[in-house]
């Protein structure tokens, strides 16, 4: 329990609340709520996108995976950034000019099919929830780690604040809050990194082991580790352990002395795999080697340098690249932000600025990950590596300086949950709003509330591990479904509704099957588990090919309005072919000109300028 951290988290909550209240002045119409009136400028929108995108997976997860997997984990930040490159090159501007407001709306504008629209709606909600649950779980773990409140009240606190923002002012508020939270997050990761890095250079610990030695990391001082969930530990260097309470370790293979000593005794862990039950408390003596959870890199050298291990690891890397590069364009909360830019060119420039903002941010979690290999190796024993960013400051600096820095990172993590969750709730509920219950704003508030309940319930039931990996599934899903729909829809005239439908169903179905089988079979190593955990490398190509082949087969049913939609998507903004779809009437006809919007002066001006 760290009183500073509680203060930092509370400060973020209060400022977010205040900004939400301030920003919601004058947010009354549906257009305000859902699109921030389509008037957000490039820089602010880019900051908002980056702020929304840098989720718990980026703020905590990347450093955690680095601590565990070493250099291979660097592909996560690369992929998270490169996704925006794909957006710039293939999607951003044409999608904005299509005038559609959500992904399902795009499907309808382009393919004129309510069935494809319905399937897209289901997928958007599914992806949104897949992404939201790990955020909430991470919020619960973080808040209970740093402030001492319970796991479930942490989740509820985040849910309440998110809903307050979304309900009070919708997109306008969310834009403002998120742009602000990008700043918070950059500050909260960069300042601690600078401070801790200089501390690291100054300290010279006696037990420190070089990162390029083929030995496991060592405990700097006597460390008591509390195991929260069952783990399997791989011991590569024998250690003596005191079992303070709980069942203690059991050998799975390899011979261990005085096994089953139970609480109170000392156990000698020999080389091999040991399992430790939940609620065990183990004490490792100063300078002893660190046993690591079975899926982590046990020794420092294989952690530091790329290894020529099994070939399925290469498959995993490429699969991860494919899902993150191509999945970003299918994330509903990212796409929706582009609709708040006034023009297609603005949308493109926005994604370019986002690239820069993300690139700057992602330099820092790497350093966190490396430092935590020295200072918080006990996380390798519990497997709770996502807590590395939160625990590193107090582990490196004694007394209030450590607690202060810890408070900064805790506040940053809290900002990360808040912004990503608000973006997700916002996008899921606006998709449901335009599809299910179009009309009054009251309905929107009702749906926002409703779309929160299931993810919150799921997060309350299960405690999550490895945020970056569970978020990775949402990416794989997005890449296998919306990537073919968007890219072919924008660039290929011969796409048909049947083709798009085939791609969505096959891609989404394959990913779902992989996820469910993976969950059923549990942890494993080798080709099968690699394919099930990172399915993108085969689901994305399959979905793409299915879309193309089915479209070719149903070539006669190319929608009649294709030429007009292509014209609208690709002609420069100044020609004025852009027609924003109305959000007030849901699926009703598009508004054709400025006349129906004439009531509001700013709009008329923008329209006039755009048409000239």
């Amino acid at each position: 329990m760290n009183p500073w951290a509680l203060g930092g988290v509370a400060l973020i909550a209060v400022v977010t609340f205040a900004l939400a209240m301030w920003g919601s002045r004058g947010a009354r119409t549906t257009s305000d709520f859902l699109l921030a009136r389509r008037m957000v400028g490039v820089e602010r929108n880019a900051a908002a996108i980056a702020g929304e995108y840098l989720s718990a997976a980026s703020f905590l997860g990347v450093a955690g995976l680095l601590l565990k997997d070493g250099i291979e984990a660097l592909w996560y930040p690369i992929g998270y950034t490169a996704g925006y490159l794909a957006l710039i090159l293939f999607v951003a501007a044409p999608l904005r000019r299509s005038g559609a407001y959500t992904l399902p709306d795009f499907a309808q504008v382009r393919l004129d099919s309510t069935r494809v629209r319905a399937v897209s709606t289901v997928l958007v909600v599914l992806i949104g929830w897949l992404y939201l649950v790990p955020q909430l779980q991470a919020a619960g773990v973080t808040l209970s780690t740093v402030t001492g409140i319970t796991y479930s009240s942490g989740i509820l606190a985040v849910a309440v604040i998110v809903l307050a923002g979304v309900l009070s002012g919708g997109m306008r508020v969310v834009t403002l809050v998120q742009a602000f939270q990008y700043g918070i997050k950059l500050f909260a990761i960069s300042v601690p990194v600078f401070v801790l890095f200089f501390v690291f250079l100054g300290q010279d610990e006696q037990h420190r082991r070089g990162l390029d030695e083929p030995v496991p990391p060592a405990f700097e001082r006597t460390t008591t580790v509390r195991i929260e969930t069952d783990v399997r530990l791989r011991v590569t260097e024998p250690v003596w352990v005191d079992v303070l309470s709980g069942p203690g370790p059991e050998a799975l293979d390899g011979v261990a002395d005085s096994e089953g000593a139970g609480s109170g005794g000392s156990v000698y862990l020999t080389e091999g795999i040991h399992s430790v039950r939940a609620d065990s408390e183990l004490r490792f003596p100063e300078g002893s080697a660190v046993p690591a959870v079975a899926d982590a890199e046990p020794d420092n050298r294989s952690w530091l340098l790329p290894q020529s291990g099994d070939s399925y690891e290469l498959f995993e890397t490429y699969s991860l690249m494919l899902s993150t590069f191509l999945g970003t364009m299918g994330l509903p909360h990212v796409l929706m932000r582009f609709y708040t830019n006034p023009t297609g060119q603005g949308a493109r420039r926005t994604s370019f600025v986002v690239l820069g903002l993300l690139g700057v941010f992602y330099l820092f979690p790497t350093i966190f990950g490396v430092l935590s290999r020295f200072y918080v190796p006990q996380l390798l024993v519990t497997g709770n590596t996502d807590a590395a960013v939160l625990l590193l400051p107090t582990a490196m600096l004694q007394g209030w300086p450590g607690e202060l820095i810890g408070a900064v990172t805790a506040a940053g993590a809290f900002a990360a949950f808040l912004s990503t969750s608000s973006g997700l709730v916002m996008s899921v509920s606006s998709v449901l709003f335009t599809d299910l219950l179009p009309g009054k704003l009251g309905n929107f508030r009702l749906i926002a509330l409703g779309s929160c309940i299931l993810p919150v319930a799921l997060a309350l039931i299960a405690i999550g591990r490895d945020i970056s990996q569970s978020v990775g599934l949402a990416f794989a899903m997005a890449a296998s479904t919306f990537f073919p729909l968007l890219v072919l829809g924008i660039w290929w005239r011969k796409l048909t509704a049947a083709g798009a439908m085939g791609g969505l169903v096959v891609g989404g179905g394959l990913v779902l099957i992989a996820v469910l089988t993976g969950a059923f079979l549990g942890d494993g190593y080798g080709w099968w588990s690699a394919v099930l955990l990172q399915p993108a490398a085969f689901t994305v190509p399959v979905a793409f090919v299915v879309t193309v082949v089915v479209s070719k087969l149903t070539g006669r049913n190319v929608p009649s309005g294709t030429g007009r939609v292509m014209l609208r998507m690709h002609t420069p903004d100044r020609l004025g072919f852009l027609r924003d779809r109305s959000v007030d009437q849901g699926e009703a006809a598009e508004r054709v000109s400025s006349t129906s919007r004439g009531g509001r002066g700013r709009h008329r001006l923008v329209r006039a300028r755009r048409r000239s």
């Binding site: 490159l85 090159l89 370019f352 690239l355 007009r564």
Partner: protein, 131 residues
């Protein structure tokens, strides 16, 4: 169009001279024929759009291929050329620079070129329309 003297008497000083524009000249111009061609999807307009889409797609695919080749080569290179792992820069192994730092400026550069190219194609299209 001047406002100087005609302002009401009780104002002490005459307000500063302002330039009043009644209409944007660009707006008052006739709609070029090509826009009508585009709007009506005549064969001429259709061909122009197809050309634009093709040009945009070509440069996007090129840039995507370059970045895929660069990023996609890294895992294989690092795996099968262990010499790279032995090189140190400021005491840090080269692979950490190759994966932790280098991809970000590279992606940014490709993004910059992509944005520039796309806007250039659009400008060329506009020049054709305005003619």
């Amino acid at each position: 169009m001047t406002t100087g003297r005609t302002s009401s008497a009780h104002q002490q000083r005459a307000p500063r001279r302002k330039r009043v524009v009644l209409a944007d000249r660009r707006g008052s111009r006739d709609v070029p024929r090509t826009i009508i061609d585009l709007e009506n999807q005549s064969s001429m307009g259709e061909a122009m759009i197809r050309n634009l889409v093709r040009a945009q797609l070509r440069s996007s695919l090129w840039l995507a291929a370059i970045s895929a080749a660069f990023l996609g080569a890294l895992p294989v290179l690092l795996r099968y050329v262990p010499v790279l792992s032995e090189i140190r820069l400021f005491g840090i192994p080269l692979p950490w620079f190759l994966l932790g730092v280098l991809p970000f400026p590279f992606i940014l550069l490709i993004g910059y070129i992509g944005t520039r190219k796309a806007e250039q194609h659009e400008r060329e299209f506009m020049d054709m329309v305005d003619r």
